[in-house]
Amino acid sequence: MIEQSASSTLSVRGLCRYFGTRVAVHEINLELKHGDVLGLLGPNGAGKTTLMRMLTGNLAPSAGSVEICGIDLLDHPSEAKARMGYLPEIPPLYRELTVSEYLEFAARLHRVSNAKIRFIVNRVMQRCALNNTGKRLIGSLSKGYQQRVGIAQAIIHDPDIVILDEPTVGLDPNQMHEIRDLIRELGVERSVIFSTHTLSEVESVCDRVHIMHEGRTVFSDSISGPKQNELSLGEVFVRVTADTGNSASF
């Protein structure tokens, strides 16, 4: 693992997805290393969710390749998926299970051995501040707790890459703060990709920014990039996404 710390965890080349003639994602290239936190920005309908669904094997790309820690996602889906955790926009929760039942199921699905399950579930519950909710039904939890359970299932198997689709939507400011801390903490040893509409969130958590517009990459840089040019991220965002005339013309 130490050796891997600088090696690439995610490598995306020329990823495209078309729905009929509509272009959802076009020619996306991404390279992530251990310890990278990438913020995925873009107006609604820019293709962020489609991109994330392709990265996690929920949608087959029309063209291009995805490699997770050097394993091709399309050729060896199981091995690749085992190194990845995904929280979709709507947390995929079974309302009729208790928190610990659900997390045990998630751990089993990710091939955690029986002997380690209890330990791992306890650890992840501690990490996501779910300590006293183990016996509660997921359906009875508040939105903030449900979101934490969603994050817990994404990181339960110690994945190399964690992909979170708008993890802070609908949370109160305190909960947002906690989730941001958690993302920062995850980013120490893993690669994290998360999408959001809150620019300040990206500035406080990420070290890289990727802005998409109409399915294309319109901006990709480290977070310090815009600052060097004395531009705020907001200015960059408005500039690259308002420019529809140019990006849609080819």
Partner: protein, 248 residues
Amino acid sequence: MIFIIAQKELRVLFGSPLPWILLALMQLVLTWIFVAHLDTFLQIQPQLVKIVNPPGVTEAIIAPVFAMAAILLLITTPLLTARLVAEERRNHTMTFLISAPISISDIVLGKFLSLMAFFSVVIALVVALSISLLAGGTLDFGLLLSNVAGLFLICACFASLGLYISCLSAYPAIAAAGALGMLMMLWVLDLGADNDKDSLTRNLSLLQHYENFNRGVIDTFDLSYFSLFVLLFLVLSIHRLNRERLHG
């Protein structure tokens, strides 16, 4: 992996009142039929003794109970299968399963297995009912076994068809209605066939194949019909879910 999915399905299923209500009601109805047949049998028994080679209790009581059990299960299966995939879609949990390092066939087979586990409980209860006759006589265990095998196979057919219909929809109610309609159709398909042994509709009808098992005849044609039926709909389910991933 298949077992992990099946275990989760059973946990979710038995966490709701539905399977308990179904088990109780089915057992109530079957016991009622059982008692009614037992009563008739006891009434006509003095006359039966006079016939050469009279029908035994297994033929007169147990076989009709099994025949009725198949029809009850035909009606209740859609209630159980409808939620399998449709509800996962509705609750957005399908993503969770697909993002996990398991294949689509694991998901489909796990769900199918969970239904078969439920049906095994139903069948075990019917067998328990039949075995109670041992208190007052002997049973034809060969006939009983053939009935059990037949009921198990026809349940597998109901389950695989219901599962496939559930894969087509995001609304459990629609999946239930669809599966019920298809199963009913397969039940009454042979009505127009009269006694023509080779008619197509007769050969396609599910219940027609079950009748042989019900009479104690295990025919390879029936066996292959049931196996192909199950296989076809399981493959179609896997294909359908895969297609979703490819076409979005």
